[in-house]
């Protein structure tokens, strides 16, 4: 029984396997239509989510399985004070696999310690979001055709942006990858990401404030939203929320084959006018996310197709 709490729980070989499965699903969807017949996915979402929850649910339905769960903490027993461990044990009696999102960091890990079925971290606070990273990796593979020798710009909220932390961990395993971190001082990448990943692996990175100055050297631009729900102080959020807004003008210095990504939802950090640019890949990312979640569910349920 395997759980995936952090993207680093998966080896490079396993990620390659998931990418291959996802591409096979894209090419031959009918082959997988009954793969999870009779299996149930529990989506335990203690925090609001549209994309990730529906992506997991769509993934399970497209595999022929069923879905149970809740979409906010108030409709779960946690509102009565039930612990994560007890919830995990209980749901293990009903479902074959769990996808959990929780505002507190480490909650899915705690669940995985007591659950008797696989647990997938569907986002824990500002910490990790491994299935978004799987979506990002499939997008990079399909758009760039490689994982090595890439300069990746990460822009916006790098402090609380869990997708950014997971993506850095994942991409740091490939050779000749450089990161350009573009953020205001208050939203810089946390020290644990530098000390656990970037520094020990000797990965080149720089921290800058200007998106325009960084633009010409980027192969990938990963935009993020400044997340209101991560701030304890609304004044700080209001001060920082409009720091970076990507517009067609700001793309004037960018490479022709730049890949613009965003985990979504966006608020205003990517102007709608950018959506028509051929370099905008963020809606492809959404679709890729569903395929990678299908591949991950198959792997963790040990279903051979």
């Amino acid at each position: 029984m395997r759980s995936v709490i952090d993207i680093m729980d998966l080896s490079l070989e396993e990620i390659d396997g998931l990418l291959n499965t996802a591409e096979d699903i894209i090419a031959n969807p009918k082959k997988y239509a009954d793969a999870c017949r009779g299996k149930k996915l529990a989506t335990l979402f203690f925090e609001p989510s549209t994309r990730t929850r529906l992506s997991f649910e769509a993934a399970m339905y497209e595999l022929g399985g069923n879905v149970i769960g809740f979409s906010e903490a108030s409709s779960s027993s946690s509102a009565k004070g039930e612990s994560i461990s007890d919830t995990a044990r209980t749901i293990s009696c009903y479902a074959d696999i769990i996808a959990m999102r929780h505002p507190k960091e480490g909650a899915p890990y705690v669940a995985s310690l007591k659950a008797t079925v696989p647990v997938i971290n569907a986002g824990d606070g500002g910490h990790n979001h491994p299935t978004q990273t799987l979506a990002d990796l499939l997008t990079i593979k399909r758009e760039k055709g490689r994982f090595d020798s890439l300069t990746i710009g990460l822009c916006g909220d790098l402090k609380f942006g869990r997708t950014v932390h997971s993506l850095i961990s994942a991409m740091s395993r490939y050779s000749n990858v450089r990161f350009v971190m573009i953020s205001p001082d208050e939203l810089k990448i946390p020290d644990y990401v530098k000390q656990n990943v970037l520094i020990p692996k000797g990965i080149e990175y720089k921290e800058v404030k200007s998106l325009e100055e960084a633009m010409p050297e980027l192969d990938i631009l990963y935009m993020t939203r400044v997340q209101k729900e991560r701030f304890f102080n609304e004044a700080d959020y209001i001060r920082l929320k409009d720091t970076y807004i990507l517009t067609p003008e700001k793309l004037s210095g960018a490479k022709d084959d730049l890949c613009i990504m965003h985990p979504l939802p966006r608020v205003n950090e990517i102007s709608v006018a950018v959506d028509d640019d051929k370099r905008a890949c963020y809606f492809k990312q959404v679709l890729n996310g569903k395929y990678m979640r299908m591949a991950l569910i198959l792997k963790l349920l040990e279903v051979e197709v």
Partner: protein, 143 residues
């Protein structure tokens, strides 16, 4: 300055200068019945300055917390005024229940029954991180 020899007890030597009082607090030496001497800024050939703690009694020392606060400490066990055992502290792989995660977003802030566990992530820089949220522990994390 001279502090008398102890006949039976423990001497914590080679404490990083300035850490002596912190160790006195976290090891709860103030609660002991026996006499305890904390010497700060003692001259040391190797370290320049160091702190020393002398405890006139063979108490159980929590080596995990000692290793976290100052892994350079040498523990000397004294019997009949002689050092009968000398131990260097090793960094524990895990520290359970002694440190508290300070991240307000950590699951440990809401799950009261959950043990606070920190794992050694970087031996060279003596970095411990919460196993749940990866927040780094520091001296203020000691409960």
């Amino acid at each position: 300055m001279i502090v008398g020899q102890i006949k039976e007890g423990i001497v914590l030597d080679h404490i990083k200068a300035g850490r002596g009082m912190k160790l006195y607090d976290v090891l709860k030496l103030g609660e002991l019945d026996c006499s305890v001497a904390v010497i700060v800024n003692a001259e040391s050939e190797k370290m320049g300055k160091k702190d020393i703690i002398k405890i006139s009694g063979l108490i159980d020392i929590d080596f995990n917390i000692l290793g976290f606060v100052d892994p350079g400490v040498t523990v000397n066990i004294i019997k009949d005024s002689k050092v009968v055992k000398r131990e260097k502290i090793a960094l524990p792989e895990k520290i359970t229940g002694l440190l508290k995660c300070k991240n307000p977003r950590c699951i440990t802030t809401v799950e009261q029954e959950l043990q606070h566990v920190f794992k050694l992530c970087d031996e060279d820089n003596k970095v411990y991180r919460c196993i749940y949220c990866e927040t780094k522990a520091d001296l203020e994390s000691i409960e």
